[in-house]
């Protein structure tokens, strides 16, 4: 799944408060500035820093974050996994796929508005086409018809965190949020923006009556995204040396690359 599509509850993975947009593939020449400091040009070991530069984010709360991370790990295992298992047992895969497609389709304003705010008008236009095609030909978004159209199948999904990055805002400190997982200050603000741009939250956010039907769409969204998020969490941690660092590095790298594209 596209990591940047994950809703805030467990948005899992991404570096650096000073450099919001890291240019990823360093060329031999530009890599050498950072490389020279770390790896003296002793010839033998080639430009170690060209690839896989350690991704850095400010983590002043690391001890607390590690404790929260350990708590979340248990929460995912003992609470979320059973809920997710129940959901995947009740709903067969094609049905779940259509539910995912519909939720992603409805989230259109998040991608459309943020493409526009970043001045990517071509991309905003493609998002509008995608929304039209999937809503009409895809029966209200249940089928992702746009995946069959070359110009529409790989449109990078924009969100508010990426808009803030494009505007020059750094990550700020890294925080592991209880239940929700990895986040930075910027991405937290971004998630709040995404929340209000996503129509599924409008009933709840703007009418605020919890006895109403309004809680159903966001709750459904939380449940339907659990299997994907748990898979991602497992994939990130299972062969890790230090799961905490692995998740932090993955999260920051992913967010930086989304912001850059």
């Amino acid at each position: 799944m596209k990591l940047h599509r994950l809703p805030p509850i467990l948005a899992l993975v991404l570096v650096s408060c000073a450099t919001p947009k890291k240019t990823t593939p360093a060329t031999t020449s530009s890599g050498s500035a950072a490389g020279a400091a770390k790896a003296p040009a002793s010839g033998g070991t080639d430009a170690l820093d060209d690839y896989g530069d350690t991704v850095v984010v400010s983590d002043p709360l690391e001890p607390l974050n590690r404790a929260t991370f350990a708590f979340n790990d248990k929460f995912y295992k003992w609470v979320m996994t059973p809920i997710s298992k129940t959901y995947t047992t009740l709903f067969p895969k094609p049905v779940r796929k259509s539910i995912d497609n519909a939720y992603e389709n409805v989230k259109f304003p998040v991608r459309f508005v943020n493409s526009g705010l970043q001045g990517k008008f071509g991309r905003a236009g493609k998002e509008a086409q995608k929304f039209g095609v999937n809503t009409v030909a895809g029966v209200g978004g249940l089928f992702k018809v746009s995946d069959k159209i070359d110009s529409l199948k790989d449109v990078p999904a924009e969100d508010t965190g990426q808009t803030l990055a494009t505007w020059g805002m750094g990550h700020g400190p890294y925080v592991v949020v209880p239940l929700m997982g990895p986040m930075t200050v910027r991405e937290g603000i971004g998630s709040a923006g995404d929340y209000f741009l996503n129509p599924i939250n409008w009933g709840f956010a703007f009418r605020g009556d919890a006895d109403d039907w309004a809680w159903i769409p966001p709750a459904g969204n939380t449940i339907r995204s659990m299997p994907g998020q748990l898979d991602l969490y497992k994939a990130t941690t299972e062969n890790a040396i230090d799961p905490y660092t692995a998740v932090r590095s993955t999260y920051i790298q992913n967010r930086n690359s989304s912001a850059a594209e």
Partner: protein
Amino acid sequence: MNRRPFIAMILAAPLVTRGAAAEEAQAALRSTIDEVLTIANRASSRSALANSVRSVLERRVSFETMTRRAVGVGWKQFSSAQQSKASSLFTTLVIRTYSNKFTPGDTASVDYKAATNPASGRVDVPTTVVYRGSRYAVTYRMEQMSGWKIADVVIEGVSLVANYRSQLDASFKQGGAEAVIRSLEQSVARPS
């Protein structure tokens, strides 16, 4: 007058070479992925897949380069015995990580996009992997050694080498080469 095409040819030569490199690298990647997918589509279980895919990957992936970069600057302080030990442990870990991404019975397909040539001897091949109805952006970083080999895999912007480096760097700072090898051993020993 007739020299012009000739001059143009000389000027264009580096571009042509680059294009050829990109093509060669992409061809090497394609044949690797085809081989892996054939195996993956036949495999009955993940452990069987990991075993049968290992020989292909060992030929096509430069695990030595990956390990060196994943360890980072500390690498030069490893003895050669430590280097080969770390390399073999890391190889096992990477192959396991990689084969865990496949579920027997689900087939993947790969769309190749135009390769780029970030530096001489290096080619990045961006692809989209379509797997279980989702599309993933996967870039393969190839390097020219004895033939073109895979030196890093970047999935949705996340570099495998960078990810391990952030972890191994901490081990190295704590206890040098021995600590790196110990933490690799622990990860390999942990049941996947």
